[in-house]
């Protein structure tokens, strides 16, 4: 039996069954992960298209391409689609779905049917949102602030809210599934402190998903009831308090930021050790930092409301807690850096994305310190400073991590290698384009350009042109991987089970893995990131 023959015919999750039905009705977490990749790719490029149109409009200070109404709808739809239909499911539902069971040595998630249902529910929510978009769009901003959303907007607010409401159930199902899986499905010997950091971070993410998402659901429901029946809940004209809406909205939406970035941290915590060939520095501290972020992250939502009419004392409390939640993020950055120190660092594409992530996340996190400082927040909140800040976290952080993770896990998912040179080039393009797009926005914000402005005073012109120039470069950087990854699925070099010499259980299985993940249930005997085991394989034994 020659090796070539073996890899050619080895049954795996991709070739075991064929046809559309076998995909649409699959209960295999790996296939569901790929279904999610397809869905979120569509939403990502849709949301990206909106962003590009917005940047084009902002090329000139006056309305030259779009009317203010169209611009308002574009930033709303960009926000809604990117937040709920790309960022939140981006890493957990694709890489998380695929690799959580593999990393803990299980052959599937706890509730496979729920997993598939979650994908259908997600697409249903997306379809309804896109329907709202096609019928005329929404112009409330992704934050749906009342009373504008309940009383004044004449656009498809209810339909969009319904789409998000439904997608929320998909989030809840995924979070529930992951928690149950991580608690109950671990292989023998896989104790909590032997779990890869990827699992810890996803566990923290799932906690937030299940505890925060229901609050969004009920908030949107109340908003819709108010809008449809014109009874008072949040509208002050009807006896309500619009600040209550903001409390409820940010009780979800601030933790949601951690839903988006924790999985990014999960991926980086895998890539950095593998490509430094060193265990993750301060494993216990990084693991606990994830949990701290998940818990303290629930106590800080008020920092979105410092100028919204929050009481001064309440604002002080929220500011204080916001600084506390910055500590675990700092701990993570320091530990990733320390992991690289004295390592054996390869410059493969995933590592380039990881390095980019650490740098950009650091800038994003540190500008968060500005926004958490009460007095400083007053001037820069609701300006482009905030836009730049959260794009450094969401795009510079999560999207970089997603791309890094896709490249890192690509050989495991497809059994093929992507073209390394092209991939490095596009990583570089993304990094340059990103900084050119968003760094000028920090300056714009400090100079006082408010967000959500379709037209703007002339003094902000130059920086906006720079930003738009960056956006076009960024766009190219995102289209590249789409093409070469699809190409390499068929024509890429065969990778073998462990091209990176990584340590996790997922790399002990074939590439692509068999349907049941492992031939025999693995038994775990040692700590994670155990590169010592490799000594013999490396010829150093």
């Amino acid at each position: 039996m020659t090796p070539v023959l073996e890899t050619a015919v080895a049954p795996n999750y991709l070739n075991e069954t064929h046809g559309i039905r076998s995909w649409l009705l699959t209960l295999d977490h790996k296939r569901i992960g790929i279904l999610y990749v397809a869905s979120i790719t569509v939403f990502f490029f849709l949301g990206g298209l909106f962003a590009l149109l917005m940047r084009l409009e902002l090329l000139a200070p006056r309305a030259w391409l779009l009317s203010p109404e169209e611009y308002n709808k574009l930033f709303t739809m960009h926000g809604i689609i990117m937040v709920w239909f790309f960022l939140i499911p981006s890493i957990p539902n694709t890489l998380g779905n695929f690799f959580i069971p593999m990393m803990i040595g299980a052959n599937d998630v706890a509730f496979p049917k729920l997993n598939l249902l979650s994908w259908y529910v997600f697409n249903l929510g997306g379809a309804i949102t896109v329907f709202a978009l096609v019928r005329g769009g929404v112009d409330t901003g992704w934050t749906f602030y009342t009373p504008f959303s309940t009383t004044y907007s004449t656009t498809y607010v209810t339909a969009a809210a319904l789409g998000i409401f439904i997608a929320g159930f998909s989030s809840i199902m995924t979070g529930l599934n992951f928690i149950a899986t991580i608690h109950r499905m671990r292989a023998p010997g896989m104790t909590w402190f032997r779990l890869p950091m990827f699992i810890w971070s996803h566990y923290a993410t799932s906690l937030i998903l299940v505890l925060a998402t229901p609050v969004l659901a009920i908030t949107l429901l109340m908003m819709a009831v108010e809008r449809i029946f014109q009874v008072g809940i949040f509208d002050p004209a009807l006896g309500g308090d619009p600040v209550l809406f903001q409390h409820m909205f940010w009780f979800y939406s601030h933790p949601a930021v951690y839903i988006m970035v924790l999985p990014g941290m999960a991926v980086i915590s895998e890539i950095v050790p593998t490509f430094s060939r060193k265990p993750l520095f301060g494993y216990t501290f990084v693991a606990l930092a994830s949990m701290c972020i998940a818990v303290i992250g629930f106590l800080v939502w008020g920092h979105h409301m410092f100028v919204a009419g929050l009481s001064v004392y309440s604002a002080m409390g929220f500011s204080f807690l916001s600084y506390l939640v910055a500590v675990p993020s700092a701990i993570k950055v320091f530990n990733w850096s320390a992991t690289m120190y004295k390592g054996s660092i390869s410059w493969d594409t995933p590592m380039l994305y990881a390095i980019g992530f650490i740098g950009l996340f650091t800038i994003g996190g540190m500008t968060g310190l500005f926004l958490a400082a009460l007095g400083v927040d007053v001037h820069v909140t609701d300006t482009y400073f905030v836009i730049a800040h959260f794009h450094y976290i969401m795009v510079g952080g999560t999207v970089m991590a997603f791309l890094g993770g896709i490249h890192y896990f690509w050989p495991k998912i497809t059994g093929r290698l992507y073209p390394e040179g092209l991939a490095r080039l596009s990583a570089l393009i993304v990094f340059i384009g990103f900084n050119l797009t968003f760094f000028p926005q920090f300056v714009l914000g400090y100079l006082g350009m408010p967000r959500r402005y379709a037209v703007y005073p002339i003094e902000f012109h130059m920086l906006n042109v720079l930003s738009t120039a960056g956006a076009s470069i960024l766009g190219v950087g995102y289209v590249f991987p789409l093409f070469y990854l699809v190409w390499s699925w068929k024509y890429g070099k065969k990778s073998g089970p462990n091209p990176w010499r990584a340590t996790g259980l997922e790399w002990t299985s074939d590439s692509p893995p068999p349907k049941e993940n492992f031939e025999v249930t693995p038994v775990v005997t040692g700590p994670p990131y155990d590169f010592e085991r490799m000594r013999e394989e490396l010829g150093l034994g």
Partner: protein, 346 residues
């Protein structure tokens, strides 16, 4: 404009703000630079030289971990304390500030001085005097943002929020709406003109007359029959409004509330909400019968009723002593005064 904003802070708050801001930029910039240098250094210095390398397997160091937990925490606490102090300064207006009433609506700012001057999307103020803005919205949430003064405050319907500034340098400063408020959000822009006192009085002299805000309020007070029940001798069927402003009021539920602008407003539009202890509520609901502009005038009048009827109330109108109530109201050049406003269809 841009350069002025960056380097010439036109108010004390703005100058203090810039201090904190640039110190934060320096600290964060240095740390970010250090991290970036360390990572790039590691990536180059420890670049993998052969496929068979196995570097020393270091798993952690407790002392280091504690250091980079505690040190950032201490720095963060410093940032928190400084930021909170500045915030208190921004949020708490000095007692002698000129009070400007701001009514925001889609998509314009209506600003009224105590002497009755009305401006739209423009505000003329003399330098060197604190200005307090008492703001409400007629429709959705807006946000009053003057980048040059580093101040911003959301403007909410059915409630008064306040912010203050004191321009120290003359100039023309942008006023933006910073909370998305619908189609022409980006058009809800205006200017604050800070003028030398001499120019300011010249400018004042150009305008036409209109009654002071409080005297408009007094007219409304009689027109709507408020005076029939609210007597100033303490014997009427309704609470005596003398010296009400800023006083602690005991209400029927046993709680006390401070009679600030929001309380007075609530007591007019929805009298039953917080009834003064010992009184029965006979008052009609004025919810849809008064415009925001009329409410503002009424509140200015009620605030102006000092402890003795007829005397001027010192604390709220302190900074316009010579003109208050007596001086003819003046409208800014080129800005027609608006009376009432268009009904808003929901």
């Amino acid at each position: 404009m841009t350069a002025a904003l960056l380097f010439l802070a036109p108010s004390r708050i703005a100058a203090e703000y810039d201090w904190l801001f640039w110190i934060l930029v320096t600290i964060c910039g240095l740390v970010a630079l250090a991290i970036a240098t360390f990572i790039v250094f590691s990536a180059i210095r420890y670049h993998r030289r052969s496929e068979n390398e196995l570097p020393p397997q270091i798993r952690g160091n407790i002392k280091l971990e504690l250091t980079w937990t505690v040190v950032p925490l201490i720095i963060f606490m410093g940032m928190f304390a400084w930021g909170a102090t500045l915030y208190f300064d921004i949020e708490r207006p000095p007692g002698d500030a000129t009070e400007i009433y701001v009514v925001a609506k889609q998509w314009m700012w209506k600003l009224q001085a105590p002497d009755g001057r009305r401006e739209i999307d423009e505000l003329h103020v003399p330098v060197g005097r604190p200005v307090k803005l008492i703001m409400t919205s007629q429709d959705v949430i807006h946000s009053f943002f003057v980048p040059a003064f580093r101040i911003k405050q959301d403007v909410l319907p059915n409630r008064y929020t306040t912010i203050w500034f004191q321009p120290d340098k003359p100039g023309k400063y942008h006023l933006f709406c910073a909370e998305y408020c619908g189609m022409k959000h980006s058009g809800m822009i205006g200017y604050i003109y800070a003028m030398e006192p001499r120019e300011y009085s010249l400018w004042l002299a150009q305008g036409g007359a209109e009654g002071s805000l409080a005297s408009t309020g007094e007219k409304l007070f009689h027109q709507f029959g408020c005076a029939n029940c609210h007597h100033f001798d303490g014997h009427g069927p309704c609470p005596d409004l003398k010296g009400l402003y800023r006083r602690q009021v005991l209400i029927t539920t046993g709680a006390t509330v401070v009679a600030d602008e929001s309380y007075i407003r609530e007591s007019i539009v929805d009298p039953g909400a917080k009834i003064v202890a010992g009184f029965t509520n006979y008052m009609p609901v004025f919810k849809d019968r008064l415009t925001e502009d009329q409410l503002v005038a009424l509140i200015a009048y009620i605030k102006a009723i000092g402890p003795e009827p007829g005397t001027q109330q010192p604390s709220s109108a302190g900074d316009v002593p010579q003109g208050y109530g007596a001086q003819p109201g003046i409208t800014g050049p080129g800005t027609p005064g608006v009376s009432g406003d268009q009904p808003k269809a929901h």
